[in-house]
Each structure stands twice: as C-alpha cells, then as structure tokens.
C-alpha cells in the first residue's frame, strides 16, 4: 500500500478536434485476450500521426516526456485541446528514452521536495490516468553514505522530507546489507556507514511514459506532429506569434519550449540566452540476469547508481562528462569511473558484462535546478533546464507547465523554478556548487 492517494486530473470529454482520428481503444487484459484470438490484428496507432494545421492555441515544441505531458495535461486538466506537439524526429527518443528510469523525491531544498513529491504522486496513479502500463515500480531508492559529513547531510534531507510528509528512512549498515546482499560494506576504501531509503522511490519503463502521454494527449485531441523541426520562432511587438517549421509556419497564441538539451538553441531563435549549458550524461546496461538487485542503489563515494530492469538488465549511470557537448554518445573516461565504482561497491558484478553505453544531452542550469517559467518573450513558455533530473519530473513538469500556460501564473509548487531567480539571487542550488554547471 505504498501509493499515496492523489486524485487524477479530470479527463476532457470534449470531442477531438482536428483530423479524424482512430482511437487505439481501451487497453485491458480482456482486450488483449480477445485480440489474441483474432491474431492481434485489431490494434491501431497508439497516437494519431497528425499533420500540422496552420494555427493552434498552444504549440509545444518537443515531443519528449515533458512536451507530451504538458500537452496531455493542457487537454486533460485544463480543457485546452487546441494544441500541437511538434517534434523534429520521431517522438520520445531524446532524454525520455536515454535515462536510467529512476523516480524519487529526496531533495535538500524544501521547494524541490514539494515539486518532486507532486511528481511522485502523479507517477503513482499514472497507469490509471493514462490507461497505459508504464510499469511504475516503487521498489525503493537507497542512498549510501560513507562519511559522517554525508550522514549529516542525508539526515538533514530525510528530516526535511519527513517534515514535508514524504517518506524517508535511515538504515544501519546491517539493514543495508540485508536489503542489498551484493553490497560490500567495507569495500577497501570508503566503507558504507549506512543508508537512507525512500521506499516510494523506484523506476518506470521510460519509453512507455512518452508513448502513454502521447496516446493520452492524442485521444484528448492534441495533434502530435512528428518529423516537424522548428526552424524559427516568429514574434511581433515582443509577443510570440508562432513557429517556423520544416512543414511551414504554425501560428500560436502560446509557444512552449520543452526541448531540454537543446533549449539554448531554441531560445536563440527567440532572441535570448539562457543560464544553461548542454552536457552529456551517460548510461549503461548489462546483459539480463535473474533478479539480483531489488532497489535503486546510489553509491555515496563516487558517481554511480544502479537498478535492475524488469527485463533483468542492470541499468546504471554516473556523472556528467563535464564539458559542453551536444553529442548523444558515451565517452571513455566516464566508463572507467563508473565501472570502477560499481566493482568497488558491488564486487560480485566483476564478471557481469556490460552491453551498451549511450548518452543523453542535458540542459545543465547554473544552479542545478530546472526552469519552468515565462521568458523575456511574451507568450513563450520554457520548460527546460532539467539537468539530470528530468525523467522523474515528467508528470509534475507537464502538470505545472500546463498550469502556467492555462492560467498565466506559475503553479505554486513550481513557482521557485522561474527564470528570474538567477538575477535576483534566489538560486535553488541542491549541491551548493555555484554557477558551474559541470559541477552539479
């Protein structure tokens, strides 16, 4: 009974606008069985493949997790379905498809705890909201600590979470060992002193999040337009009027950028710069194994975190490479660093084989926290700056961005993520690393 109750946003009952669409129908075990008898021939497109219309009330640029979730909540929670999501390639192949699938809400800044907790609550009801099983698996997120200073920091964080009504537990060394028998508590260099567990943390099948939101948005009347690169942002008198695309001009009252990793490029089209640098974050997966790791585990003496997917592969990652790059690929020094931490903490992995490495490019902000904000250009909304925390934030990011678009004012749990905070000195700096994105 880990799930905490959260009313799912109302689904719009307004008829779909735009091109005629065939619904993919409701998913259920019974339908699956029925289709099985019929050779699985009755399924149709999970989301309608729309062509862009000349104008929309809202154009969302970026068909990734945040863009699709924003469009979904605009339609489902605010009744705004005159919306297009424009994606330059096929949807859902950016960072939503390149992360390590972790969800959690353990943060140091009270505002961040509230924001990510909203997200966690939305995750908990996601399959019912979307009628799409994204396999939200609340198996627990465990942070190990190796020094007393680290214990103090995590104590402070866990206490804050508890004050905010979020789950957090301190674990002894023995409890860590019981939960993760693979861990070598002594490990030769930085012994594990204990751990902090967020039982409601866990993993989600990442691709399914994009597909589920796309399907939900599409059924609610949103046009999802793939292979439609935005090449310019048109504005007049300080107000956005629409976007130039590879498939012609698309007018809009509001344009929302949800292109984390490439926010700076889009902002440049709109004529301003952002407090963002683009960096690559790598991830890795091993061959499939029978169940051997039941939590999301984070090492505290190096950059390394790991979980086991339902398919059996160990999915793991480390820190960003630390220099500006748009190259969505893995690099070598990080391989050594991450795997060294893995073998140190979990020596039984020594003979397990790593299959693939890949990279996703992140919007790294100057304080390590995201941006959901109005911009210097009226009518242009930014959802970006996700650093490496974008995946877990998808539901809340979409939900609060939709709120900002629909109401013109920030959602209370995302108000601290405004763009003006940098000039004002209201940074939301989890690590205290300062305006050095490569240190966050």
């Amino acid at each position: 009974m880990m799930r905490s109750p959260m009313p799912s946003p109302p689904r719009s009952s307004a008829p779909a606008s735009g091109p005629e669409r065939t619904s993919s129908g409701r998913y259920s075990l019974w339908r699956l069985l029925r289709e099985g008898l019929a050779g699985q021939r009755g399924w149709s497109h999970a989301w309608a493949k729309a062509a862009p219309r000349p104008r929309y009330r809202v154009v969302v640029v970026g068909g990734g997790g945040h863009g699709l979730a924003t469009a979904y909540y605009l339609a489902a929670a605010h009744g705004i379905s005159d919306v297009a999501v424009l994606e330059r390639g096929p949807l859902g192949l950016g960072n939503v498809a390149r992360n390590t699938t972790i969800i959690r809400s353990n943060y140091f800044q009270p505002d961040n705890v509230r924001f990510y907790e909203l997200s966690l609550k939305l995750w908990e009801s996601l399959e019912h909201t979307l009628n799409f099983n994204a396999m939200v698996s609340q198996r627990g997120a465990l942070n190990l600590f190796h020094t007393e200073a680290q214990r103090d920091l995590f104590t402070r964080r866990a206490n804050l979470m508890r004050l905010e009504g979020v789950d957090a537990e301190a674990l002894s060394r023995e409890a860590v060992k019981a939960l993760v028998p693979l861990v070598d508590l002594d490990n030769g260099r930085y012994p594990v002193l204990g751990g902090f567990l967020q039982p409601r943390g866990g993993t989600v099948r990442h691709d399914a999040v994009a597909w589920g939101y796309a399907r939900g948005a599409s059924e609610a009347g949103v046009d999802i337009v793939e292979h439609c690169a935005v090449t310019g942002i048109r504005h007049e008198g300080g107000r956005v009027t629409g976007v130039e695309t590879a498939r012609g001009f698309v007018a809009a009252d509001t344009v929302c950028l949800a292109v984390a990793g490439h926010s700076s490029e889009l902002a440049r089209m709109a004529g301003f710069e952002l407090p963002i640098e683009t960096h690559v974050l790598q991830a890795f997966v091993t061959e499939g194994l029978k169940p051997v790791l039941d939590v999301v585990l984070t090492y505290g003496a190096g950059h390394f975190y790991i979980s086991q997917s339902d398919k059996g592969g160990l999915v793991f990652g480390g820190a960003i490479d630390g220099y500006n790059t748009y190259g969505q690929r893995g690099t070598l020094p990080m391989v050594e660093e991450v795997t060294a931490a893995a073998v140190t903490l979990l020596p039984a992995l020594a003979r397990v084989k790593v299959l693939r490495q890949w990279g996703g490019v992140m919007d790294m902000t100057m304080d390590g926290s995201p941006i959901i904000s109005k911009t210097p250009l009226a009518g242009l909304i930014l959802n970006g700056g996700w650093c490496y925390g974008g995946f877990k934030a998808i539901p809340a990011g979409g939900f609060t961005t939709a709120h900002l678009i629909a109401h013109g004012t920030p959602h209370p749990v995302a108000a601290h993520l405004d763009l003006a905070r940098f000039a004002a000195g209201r940074m939301v700096d989890e690590r205290g690393a300062g305006p050095f994105p490569w240190l966050h």
């Binding site: 399924w43 399959e127 402070r156 029978k290 070598l332 060294a340 490495q357 000195g425």
Partner: protein, 979 residues
C-alpha cells in the same frame, strides 16, 4: 574419441589433448582448441538453452560473438560467470557450464507453456494490462515478470579481493581492426612503410575468412611472417575493438591466453585504450538469418558457422544438412561439407539460378532453386524441412540440420560511432559505412568488397592511401605466394522473410518475431527506433547482429517504405559485452581512490588513532579505537585546560610570490591583504563570482612580495584551481606566481593556556611575548633546530601557535613539542576534538561553508572591503543574497541540558511544527558549557537569538526545545586567543 561429430582434423584443435568438461551435469570430452560450442556439437549436443520469453528449445546458431542463443552460465570456484557465449568460450580442462532459463530442466521446461500462450503475449503486451488493482504491480505482476525474465544467474556474494584487472594505454599510427585478408595485407604494407601499426583481431588466430579456405593458408602464413618481422607492427589476437570514441581513441578488449593469465595473477582480459592517428576497419561482414517459421529450432544454423565448425574444429554440425540460402558465398559451406563427405540433403536457393548453384549441381548436389523453406519439422532438433517453390509445388526434405544464409552485412558499427552514414547497396543487399577520411577508412568485406582476393587487394590499396596521408610511402613489397583468385558469383537476391504460419524470428535471443514487428508498425511504432523499443528487437546481448536487417526489412514492408529509408538502429558501444572488471581496471576497491597520508601517518597509527576518510586524506579522528565521546572530550579538555597538539597538515597551502602578489590577493579575497604587514597573518574569505562564500583560511605575509595562503582541506584542490584560473585569465597582467606547497609543509597547532611555554621550548631565540609576537603574528623560526615557520593563529579559541616544518622533518618537530609539553600533560588531539573546540568557539567549516551561504549569513559582513573590485563583489548585493530571512549562523543549545542535538536536525517554531526554519549543521557535547552545543543555519537567525525553538529529527523520533544563542558560545571577546 572426442565426439561422434568430429569428422576431420580442425585447424585449431589438437587431437592429442583431450579435455574433460561438464555441461548440465553430463561429463563430456572435447579437444584443446575447441570452444564450448564446438565441443558440444562434436558430442552431438543440439539443445543448449531455452529462449527468453517463450522458453523454446534453442541450439547453437553461429560460431562467434554474434551468437544469439548459446548462452550458458559458467560455474567455477570464483563464483562463476553468467551469460557466457558457448561460441567464444575457450574450452579448458574441468570447465563446468549449465544451461539457462529453464525449470526444472533443459529437457523439460514448464515455462514453455508461454510458447502455447504466445498469441496472447505479443510484443509489448505488458503495456496494456497488469494495471489493476493498483497495488498488484509491485506485489504480484512485477515479481512474476522479473523472475521469468533475465537469463543468467549471478550469485550475490562478496569476494574478499578484487578480480585482477588492468587497463593498458596504447599508441599507434594506424589501428587496423581485423586480420582477415584485407587487414593482413594492409598491416604488412603499413608496417613496411615504417608506420606504427596495431593490428587487432578478435579471433584466437589471425586470418579471418582465409582460415576457412585451405587454398589461402600459404598466403596467410607469409603475411603473418612478414608482420612478425616488422618491429613497428604489433599484432594482437583475441582482441576485440569495443568502441570508437573520437579523437583517434578506441577501446579494445584483449582476452589473455592461459599462459599470460598465469603470469598476470589470474588476469582474464585487459582493456586496451588505443590512440591512433588513423584507423582501418577491416572487420569483415557478418552473415544474416532468414525469418521463416521454425528458424530457431536447434539445428538451424548459419551456413558460415557450419563451415567454421568444420574447418576450425573438424566438427560436422549435422550429417545430412539442408541449406537455405540466397547468395553464392554460402555455397562455400555446401562444397566444404561435401568434400568432407557430408552431403547436403538439398540446397534450397531462393534465386531462380546462380553460378554457384550450377557448380553444386555439377558436383551432384541437389539444388532446389526458386524455392523457400516454409516450415521446420522437429522441436528439439531439425527432422525435416518443408520447401515451397515459387511455382507452387511443395515437398519435404529430410535433414538433420538446416544451414541458412540470408547474405552478409558489412560490419559498420565502429564506423557509425565515428559519424559514418549508412549507405544502401543493392548489389550486396546491405548497408555500408565509410568513416570520414580524417578518421580512417574501411577495406574489404567491411565495405562490401567480398571475396578474399578482392579484399586483400582492397586492404593493400587502403594501406597505400593511409600511408600517403601520414607522409609515408609503401615500398614495393616482395612477391609472395600468389593468392587464389575469387570465383565468379551471382549477386545475392534479397530474401528477409518467408511468410507462412508459425513463429518466424528476427531476434532469436529476445524472442521477437516478424509478426511482432508488424504489430509494432500497426500500433504506430513504425520508426525503426520505436519498433526496437516496443518489441525489444536487437536489444539483447548479440545486439541483433544476425537479424537486424531482416527486422528492418519486415518493418519496411509493413510501412510500405524502402528499406534504405527505414534504416537500422544506431549502433552503440560495446561491440561485445564486456565484464565490469575489465572496464574498471585496477583502480577499484582498496585502490578506488588514492590514499593521501599525513607526513606523520605512521606516528598517528602507533599512537592508536582511529582514522577517518576526509576526501583522499586519512586523518586521525581521535587517539583511541573506542567509540563514544569520552576520549574526544578528554582531548578537547586538555586543550582548554592545559595544552594539546594536532596535525593540521591537510590544510591547503599555496605559495604566492611576485610584485603583484598583494594586488592579486586583494582581487581574489573579499577582504584586503595589501595592507597586511610583513610578519602578520589575516583570516580571509573568498567568494565565488556569484557572491556566495567559496573558501576561508589564513593568509600570511612572509615578505613584501611573498604570501602564504591557506585553504580548507576540503577545498584545497578547487581553491588552487580557482586561483590559477583567475591568475591566468582575469589577472593575467599581474606578475604573480602560485605554487602548491601543501605537501612540502607539515603543520601542527599547539593550543591551550600553556601553549606559549611549550612552543617557547622548541622555538629557539624567538620572543613569544604578546608584545613581540602578538595574535596573528608570523615569523620564520627554527623549530627544534629545523628551518620552519611559526604562526600565532587559533582555530580552537585558545592561545595557540601553528608550527610549520618541511614534511621530511615533521617527526623531529612533533616529538620535540611532545617532549616540551610533557610537564603540562600535552595530548595529541584529533579531528573530533578539533571540531568540538571550534563549535564551542563558533568557527565555521565546510558544514557551514556549504556553497549556499553568504558572508553575511555566517557573520562575516564586516570583512567585505568597501572599495576596489574583488571576485563576487557585485553579485553578493543581489536581493536574494541579502534578504533578512536568509539562513544565518547561530548557536543552539538544548533547554534541557540532558538532551542531545543531532547534525541535520531541523528547527521549527512550536506553533508550526512542520515548517522548517533551518537546521543544525554541527553539534557536540561541550567541554566548557553544560550539555550539547551546536551551530545552526536559521531563517533570520540573528533576529531570533534569545528565542526558543523546537529541534526535531523525525527520522530519529526525537524532538527537543532549544535556545537560539550567538554562535560565539565561548569567549566572545577573544581574550583567550590574545592571552
């Protein structure tokens, strides 16, 4: 006898050296030189595993690293290894392997029921169900799915030592990937041109395709001889290039021979990081499957694999093989097996006719042209195949194995990682990819030039071009054995799938069928990346090597788009699965990070210190092994009451010299140093450019143009970089030099009311009276006769001196102080006591300098200079950094003195117990005050001094009322430090 199917002498096997091994409990025999797969086949074993999803019986499909099915768990004393490929696993005496993913046994697997339910379990079925009730996913469905999924088994046990591993760094002018005919010809030519060449080949011996054709052995031997004679060419067998990383960097995995393994302490493989000016991809092409119903039955194999087993190990994969193919290259297997008296039951060629088909017919082999296999009869082994000709006729061919070939795909993954674009060629029905010329080239089958002779020629041509680009010329090479010329061939005719009832697999390891691909397309997952992710096609350990193009072709047909437009999924490293140990190298566990030891580490050790990791440093925490506060407080008490000594050598120390040294320090510090007198020290704070505190420490002026900066231990490396960065950028016109002298100087604090008397005894002829050597004085001094420095600075709040001597003389100085202090009961004190002392005094460390605090937050507002530019000056004035409700440094004490504080405890107002107002950063039982004392960062803290709040630690279920006090809880007037 080493197996009934061993019909000939293999190129690699040694009939004189039989090896015993076990598979699933059965005791079997193979030969030295065998792989586990060849030994199993020699023993007539077909069934080696169960498939991932449907638990269908599976056998060996290939003879190399592209193997999708023959994965086994290796069992040995060291805990074993899951998911080893039988096809690349060298057999050794006593090897024990077990099959995977079956229960209770390989022969009888109950989960094979999934195969019968397959119609209800299409690709992505799990996205559409298991959604209700909400709690059931984690409790019921997911555990079931997880248990059924996964392949190999890993024992979760902790070994007591790290597996041996090493990373070796290599450099070359040209890296040649692959030692087939193209690679050998190229390496010989490049070497002759005087270039440094690294020739890497994944096979146990060089030769590639030439190993499978007896006519090429002379040529191969001559090339190997030439290469051996060239000192600048290094040839590495058993070495797979795993990934291409740009800037000429490649990672390669070398598997060690048993001899080398023994010499290197059991090392199994080493990772090589190769830096090369150019690369030549001569990595060949890989054979493809054809999707038809039953293409996964044990005994259905790639034709090239059958040829490999025969030539390399002398093993016949069957005695009555049928062939199903669409290209002439695959006929090599037909002919070779026939030569070994294994006659084909029939060759089913999808083409209406071909040069090779005619040759086969001339040799008396039945070739059924213009026909396809529509079904395989047999479940655990092939019994017969059903053949349908284009003209509508069908027949059944009895056979004990079916050897298929859907053509060949040049291996392009490394080139693609370097930005090469895939290009489709109808002539070979395959994609090729040419790397950018600045990076290198591809040659031979790797770029679609098939035929050993053509590839050898292509390799030599590429070598000449590369040599020229690198400023060398390939000299005329001595005439060697003339290689046989390639036979005429009829081009491949694309054939990806035979549509007939039943499961036709495009990904054998992940159990993805052609129907799954079509379902994905029907549901809109029609981009090749979407299809991959929806069906998991190509995501298994073999990365879809043999079925990837077929899957793309099925998708293309379903989309009604040409195959080149559909493309292939983007290849990512690694070319083959790599053990963690190999990637990690030797810097793991005890060597994960260097240990940084104090000059007096051994002394502290002998004195019984408990050490604590702070960054890389090992520091004495307290001089006892016992837990608890008693010893800490005893040490701290000695300082407060008499005298103590502590090792502060970990502080960062930077020597700053030059005519502009003072100007530089004025810029990097928020306070002023140009006004500091020679022979004086000053506490300084550095800000980041964003106005927040970066670091603090004492800076001394040793001469008019000579300063010594100290930084915190935690920030020492970052502070040096921060200063160097600014010195070389913003301040590059200043004449100032920075030198890291952290390791040069051992530094000790001698603190306590008797510090002066003790220090006076070890410092010769220096007047230590307040008048001559007041608080914050600095002097060169002879310390126990050693040229050193004396500072009168205090972190503890007591009368204190810091003594610095060259680290090599640390012991002499330290022991001199101890001897001098004996009469005062001097005690060494560790980090914990140091912390107790500084908390009482209200001094901050990194717990408070946490990157989110300003000078004002910590009470340093008066230190900011009023005039002149310095780092962080402007941005520190922003409203967010000067707001009155910011977290400010205060002291806290429990109202009930018997209660304790905790670091990380939050402070709340009694009226709103869930709204955090701040938190305790540091706390300790006090020596001088009753009970616990703590430092806290508290919203509007200075305004709250004198009020009471609740300190709460929900995770400990603790709450206590605290009074907010000044952070300077002891001797706020600083009389002690000035005494």
């Amino acid at each position: 006898m080493t197996g009934p199917a061993r019909i000939a002498q293999g190129l690699l096997t040694d009939p004189a050296r039989p090896l015993a091994f076990r598979f699933d409990g059965a005791q079997l025999q193979g030969l030295a030189g065998d792989t586990l797969a060849s030994a199993l086949l020699a023993n007539g074993r077909r069934l080696v595993g169960r498939s991932f999803k449907y638990h269908r019986p599976r056998g060996i499909v290939t003879a190399g690293c592209e193997e999708p099915c023959a994965l086994v768990d290796l069992v040995d004393a060291a805990g074993g290894e899951p998911n080893r490929l039988a096809t690349t696993l060298a057999l050794h005496e006593g090897l024990v392997a077990v099959s995977q993913n079956r229960w209770p046994s390989l022969e009888l697997d109950l989960l094979a029921v999934n195969d019968l339910l397959g119609r209800f379990l299409p690709a992505g079925f799990y996205y559409k169900t298991f959604m209700a009730p909400g709690w059931a996913w984690e409790r019921v469905y997911e555990p079931l799915i997880r248990r059924a999924a996964g392949l190999g088994r890993l024992e979760a046990r902790v070994t007591d030592h790290a597996a041996p591993a090493e990373i070796v760094h290599d450099h070359a002018d040209v890296l040649v990937v692959g030692a087939g005919s193209a690679g050998l010809a190229a390496a010989a030519a490049l070497g002759a041109a005087g270039l440094r060449v690294l020739l890497a080949d994944q096979d146990v011996v060089p030769g590639g395709g030439t190993l499978l054709d007896a006519r090429w052995s002379d040529w191969r031997e001559e090339m190997c001889r030439r290469i051996s004679a060239l000192p600048a060419v290094r040839a590495l067998a058993r070495t797979t290039v795993l990934g291409a990383y740009g800037h000429g960097v490649f990672a390669a995995l070398e598997t060690l021979t048993p001899g080398e393994r023994a010499r290197f302490g059991g090392l199994r493989e080493r990772l090589r990081i190769v830096r090369a000016r150019r690369v030549l991809f001569a990595c060949g092409a890989s054979e493809r499957l054809i999707a038809f119903p039953g293409n996964d039955v044990p005994g259905v194999m790639l034709a090239g694999a059958a040829l490999g087993y025969l030539r390399r190990y002398g093993v016949a994969v069957g005695l009555r093989p049928a062939f199903f193919l669409n290209n002439d290259e695959a006929y090599e297997a037909v002919f070779a097996l026939a030569e070994a008296r294994v006659r084909a039951a029939a060759v089913i060629d999808s083409r209406p006719g071909a040069v090779a088909a005619r040759r086969a017919q001339e040799a008396g082999i039945e070739v059924i042209t213009d026909a396809v296999v529509t079904r395989v009869l047999g479940r655990r082994s092939v019994r017969a195949v059903r053949v349908a000709a284009r003209n509508g006729s069908t027949r059944c061919v009895d056979a004990d194995c079916l050897l298929m070939s859907g053509g060949h795909s040049p291996i392009t993954s490394l080139a693609c990682q370097l930005g090469a674009r895939l290009e489709w060629h109808d002539g070979i029905a395959a994609f090729t990819a040419d790397p950018p010329l600045a990076v290198g080239r591809a040659a031979g089958a790797a770029r679609g030039i098939y035929g050993l002779a053509a590839a050898a020629l292509d390799g030599a041509t590429a070598a000449r071009a590369l040599a020229a680009e690198l400023g060398r010329t390939v000299p005329p090479l001595p005439a060697g054995p003339v290689p046989p010329s390639d036979r005429d061939a009829t081009p491949v005719a694309p054939l990806w799938e035979v549509r007939a009832p039943g499961k036709a697999f495009v990904d054998l390891q992940n159990d993805v069928t052609a129907d799954d691909v079509r379902l994905a397309c029907r549901e809109g997952y029609e981009h090749v990346e979407h299809m991959k992710r929806f069906t998991t096609c190509g995501m298994a350990t073999d990365q879809g090597r043999i079925g990837g193009v077929a899957a793309a072709a099925v998708l293309a047909e379903a989309r009604g788009a040409p195959l080149p437009e559909v493309g292939q999924v983007k290849p990512r490293p690694f070319a083959e699965p790599v053990p963690f140990a190999a990637l990690a190298g030797g810097e793991v566990r005890g060597h994960f990070k260097p240990k940084r030891r104090l000059p007096l580490h051994e002394w502290h050790e002998r004195a019984g210190a408990t050490f604590v990791n702070t960054g890389l440093w090992l520091r004495p925490l307290v001089y006892t092994q016992a837990a608890g506060w008693d010893a800490v407080l005893d040490e701290a008490r000695a300082v407060r009451r008499s005298v103590g000594i502590t090792d502060v050598s970990t502080l960062g120390k930077i020597d700053v010299q030059g005519p502009d040294a003072a100007r530089f320090l004025d810029f990097v510090y928020a306070n002023t140093f140009s006004t500091l007198a020679v022979g004086r020290a000053r506490y300084g704070i550095m800000l980041r450019e964003d106005g927040l505190l970066f670091d603090d420490g004492t800076t001394s002026r040793l001469g008019p143009t000579h300063f010594l900066v100290t930084t915190t231990t935690a920030n020492s490396a970052a502070a040096l970089e921060h200063l160097e960065f600014h010195q070389q950028s913003v301040c590059r016109n200043l004449d100032v030099l920075l030198t890291d002298v952290c390791d040069q100087w051992a530094q000790f604090a001698v603190a306590g009311p008797h510090a002066r008397e003790v220090v006076a005894l070890v410092v010769g002829d220096l007047d230590l009276t307040n008048a001559a050597f007041p608080f914050m004085a600095v002097a060169e001094a002879r310390i126990a006769g050693i040229a050193g420095r004396l500072f009168r600075i205090s972190f503890s709040g007591e009368l204190a001196y810091e003594l610095a001597v060259p680290a090599g003389a640390a012991r002499t100085a330290w022991e001199a102080v101890l001897a001098a202090g004996r009469r005062y009961g001097i005690r060494p004190y560790g980090l914990d006591a140091l912390n107790t002392l500084r908390i009482e005094k209200g001094h901050v460390t990194t717990a408070e300098l946490n990157g989110n605090t300003t000078a004002d937050d910590l009470g340093f507002q008066r230190m900011l200079k009023k005039s002149g530019d310095f780092i962080g000056r402007a941005l520190a004035t922003r409203p967010g950094l000067t707001a009155p409700d910011r977290l400010q440094l205060v002291g806290v004490r429990p109202v009930d003195r018997a209660h304790r504080l905790r670091n990380g405890m939050h402070l709340v107002a009694p009226g709103s117990p869930t709204a955090s107002l701040g938190y305790v950063t540091s706390s300790t039982p006090s020596v001088e005050l009753e009970g616990w004392v703590g430092l806290a960062l508290l919203a509007g803290g200075r305004q709250r001094i004198g009020t009471r709040l609740l300190g709460t630690s929900p995770i400990h279920d603790e709450s206590t009322e605290v009074e907010v006090v000044s952070p300077h809880m002891l001797d706020a007037e600083n009389t002690r430090v000035r005494s």
